[in-house]
Symmetry: C2
Subunit: 317 residues, 2 copies
């Protein structure tokens, strides 16, 4: 009875708890983890997925725009991979339909890992220990980009962060939030933030214009959904970002220009809701948002099989 009433209270909320994930195919996930950490997917041999989506740091790089091959400055802030399986689509503009489609992108992006699918695959194919793992998981030891991205996506699907204080509160532990945090949550709902930031990921479920009431001032040339649909009405429309683990994923916004949650909340209030929050209101929303930090994935660092005499060599310079 107790459990039922907790569930009932949670279902009335616009945010749902994150569910733990038990991988269906642990070998596939383990292979995906190796690939996520393997810098040999990059031209230099030095940049892995984890370089920009550091799982020690909330699945991000915590810099405004990413450093890519040869220290190129990327055009946009790296979103977290944590809970990214819950996104309606991947990238700020949603141009990849899912994690598998997304994972092929950075490997071959000249500004990121700067390799090619052919080169990355030939590196993996040259390593018998990798081939054995592909064989175990896929039934044959052929490495191809489809299998590589399938494995990476399977690993990413395990990167969920249940157990936040807010989820404990949703699940019925009324002491999990203090007074300020609870006030923040109430204001987050009543002022309209949950219109966009909702669902288990507190975001990720829809596209919205950034700058509903007032334009966002930025030097960034990024156009958002317009670059996918070609429509002028999609200018500055972005996938609403998850607010899970938001304390860890600074700096904020697609241009990474805002370093504090206080400033991000103030901007959201003004631009999206035409509302000027006072300091107490901002502080309470920030306090609430910090309760969204969940248990970070337990990652045992993978030991990667060595390259050998047949492995194409990295080209760092």
């Amino acid at each position: 009875a107790l459990v039922t009433s907790f569930n009932a209270s949670a279902t009335n909320e616009p945010i749902q708890p994150i569910q733990a994930v038990t991988p269906k195919n642990p070998d596939l996930v383990e292979l995906g983890k190796m690939l996520f950490f393997d810098p040999r997917l990059s031209k230099s041999g030095w940049i892995s997925c984890n370089s920009c989506h550091n799982l020690s740091m909330g699945g991000t790089d915590n810099i405004p725009s990413s450093i890519g091959h040869a220290w190129q400055q990327g055009p946009i802030n790296a979103p977290t991979v944590l809970n990214s399986s819950m996104n309606l689509a991947q990238f700020w503009d949603g141009r990849a339909k899912d994690l598998k489609e997304q994972a092929g992108g950075p490997i071959a992006n000249p500004g990121e890992m700067a390799s090619t699918h052919e080169l990355a695959v030939s590196v993996l194919n040259s390593i018998p220990q990798y081939r054995a793992k592909f064989e175990k998981v896929f039934g044959s030891d052929k490495v191809d980009i489809d299998r590589v991205t399938t494995a990476i996506a399977a690993f990413e699907e395990t990167l969920v962060t249940p157990g936040s204080r807010f989820d404990k509160w949703l699940e019925g532990d009324k002491n999990a939030l203090n007074k300020q945090e609870l006030e923040g949550y109430k204001l987050f709902k009543s002022s309209g933030c949950t219109g966009c930031h909702n669902g288990p990921a507190v975001g990720g479920a829809l596209y919205q214009k950034f700058g509903v009431h007032h334009p966002y001032k930025t030097d960034s040339k990024i156009e958002g959904r317009k670059s996918v649909t070609g429509k002028d009405t999609d200018l500055n429309v972005f996938k609403v970002p998850t607010l899970r683990n938001i304390e860890l994923t600074y700096p904020y916004f697609h241009d990474g220009a805002v370093w504090t949650l206080e400033e991000a909340v103030t901007i959201m209030g003004k631009l999206q809701l035409d509302r000027d929050f006072n300091k107490k209101e901002v502080d309470s929303i920030v306090a609430f948002m910090k309760t969204l930090t969940g248990k970070q994935p337990d990652i045992k660092l993978p030991i990667l099989p060595p390259s050998n005499n047949d492995t194409p060599r990295p080209q760092p310079f």
Copy 2:
């Protein structure tokens, strides 16, 4: 009686098994691990010790010379941090007397992490969760470079790799090596390799000239011990590198110019011993050297405490 005879046989060998390490102060080691993985010790916020001494890849970066801040090309190959506590001194030229003294170097090296000790310390000092860990370990919550390097060194002292097949053989398991590997080991001893590569780390215990009988041809300007002692006789004298995990720490030599163990062995034979090994001999020594790969450290990826409004920001570009 059996055990005694195994020990006796091992002590007659020029190489001794690596002993597992049980840390005296696990909290100190855990703090050191966090610092080893924390890219906020660098100016960019993107380069950690683990970027160049990747514990997924034998404690190295597997590229000829390291990539540093702003993609600067480093002058020398990054040696492994595995078993580095056994070195008589640190760096190829031995210019740091121990791991603690060494650890201060890369943080403030403009070609590596490009920060300053002051900046790195102020980043850590701004983070209450770090200060609490320093308090627990050192008795007060002051972060200073001395404590930072003490913690990193304590972590590095745990990075030993016992349990290699060769160590099993040394400990009496006569089936741990096959015929070719054993022949390789005998040749490694009889031809004189163990004159320089000996002790538990199979190296790291003395300085020797690279190019005893014939000069090494390289574009590198590195002078070895001469840059420490100023003596002409120390030109091209280097710390003899460990051969533990040598299959993982390619490419080889201080200039990282040699990618295969076969070529490295051929060069060592000619330059250091004036001996031309035939293919069978080279292959057997290589087969032996691959038995020196030990159990890689079990590392649980540390979760780093987030920066906050008071933390100095990274300067990636």
